[in-house]
Symmetry: C3
Subunit: 154 residues, 3 copies
Amino acid sequence: MDINERIRELGLTLPEPAPVGGVYTPVRQSGRQLYVSGQGPTVAGRPAFTGKVGGELTLEQGQEAARLCALNLLAAVKKHTGDLNRVEGVVKVLALVASAPGFGSQPAVINAASQLLVDVFGEKGWHARSAMGTNELPGNIPVEIEAIFELCDE
Amino acid sequence: MDINERIRELGLTLPEPAPVGGVYTPVRQSGRQLYVSGQGPTVAGRPAFTGKVGGELTLEQGQEAARLCALNLLAAVKKHTGDLNRVEGVVKVLALVASAPGFGSQPAVINAASQLLVDVFGEKGWHARSAMGTNELPGNIPVEIEAIFELCDE
Amino acid sequence: MDINERIRELGLTLPEPAPVGGVYTPVRQSGRQLYVSGQGPTVAGRPAFTGKVGGELTLEQGQEAARLCALNLLAAVKKHTGDLNRVEGVVKVLALVASAPGFGSQPAVINAASQLLVDVFGEKGWHARSAMGTNELPGNIPVEIEAIFELCDE
């Protein structure tokens, strides 16, 4: 199935790629792998959420932030490839959740991002993953997610 | 040497693979690389340790937790490959240690995991590694370790 | 252009590779990729900076620490390859900044390392990146950076 059609069916709209926040590139290809830089929960270049999950933010807000990170991953990959149908699948996700003391549900937060990737890519969206906590993320965002995608054979 | 024999000689028993704690797959192959999802110090699906190293837990307890993470990595790879002899070696380990304030011996904690991998795979078990701290990990586990393994040529 | 000449032009001197602080190898090759273990801001094997950025250390000191990490990455790759001209480019950087509560300028800290890599390798030095915070790093260093480099075709 066409990925763009699938994205429409899911009611998703890919944002403009997030502006690059430093001396790096959003996507770097190595062989058939695409390394995508850490994405935050930005909308139109501004964080839609700030604060620590389990503190100022609820689990549900953390999940919504994680979903925005996943949309930004897809937007970056779409811009790099020109067409998401060139993506064979999702290889790996590393996610850090800015966590208030005692918060330990990082996997539940990141499931919202992983589910979106699986919804979009189906079977090929299943990925290896680590979801961990941290005390501070850039600009006080609650979630940052990086990923490795894989391209189809040419 | 046969890896399964080596594991027996070392007196190790691989556990059942840890249950997957979210929307991801324990192992994802990309080319000849196997990306293994972050593993915690679980035994039979439950954390054998919780708490922060340098706080509720001693360095030695952190090391025992790291060893359990390494066994879970091996269990995941064994289930995926069917046979650990298909593994060419260990490429990369990323380990986060939930650290009490002022605790800075993350490498000593993770050495227990790295040593196990080197004991099992010999020369080919030597890997690149980062060992870092964090304030919180899922379910208050003290250590989480992800890794990249490499398969032999077919 | 010859990379060693470029390094001289930039007024940089590569240090001796940092001593390995545990059971791992500084660089592990997998296919054409070089995985480089997490490097700290060490000079002659000792941390040039300790403390948290935004706490005991200023942003500028964090940047100087990040630059030292990048030099140590290059030193490790030079030792492994014998010649930095064998490097095709920089694929990926993962950087953790030990952050005082409320510090959120991790990307500005890590820009100092990324800029050095871009200065040295030019166009091919542009990399995907994640810059995140943490509460504690080994030996109380303020920055730890790991990277993936790519080798030229033989």
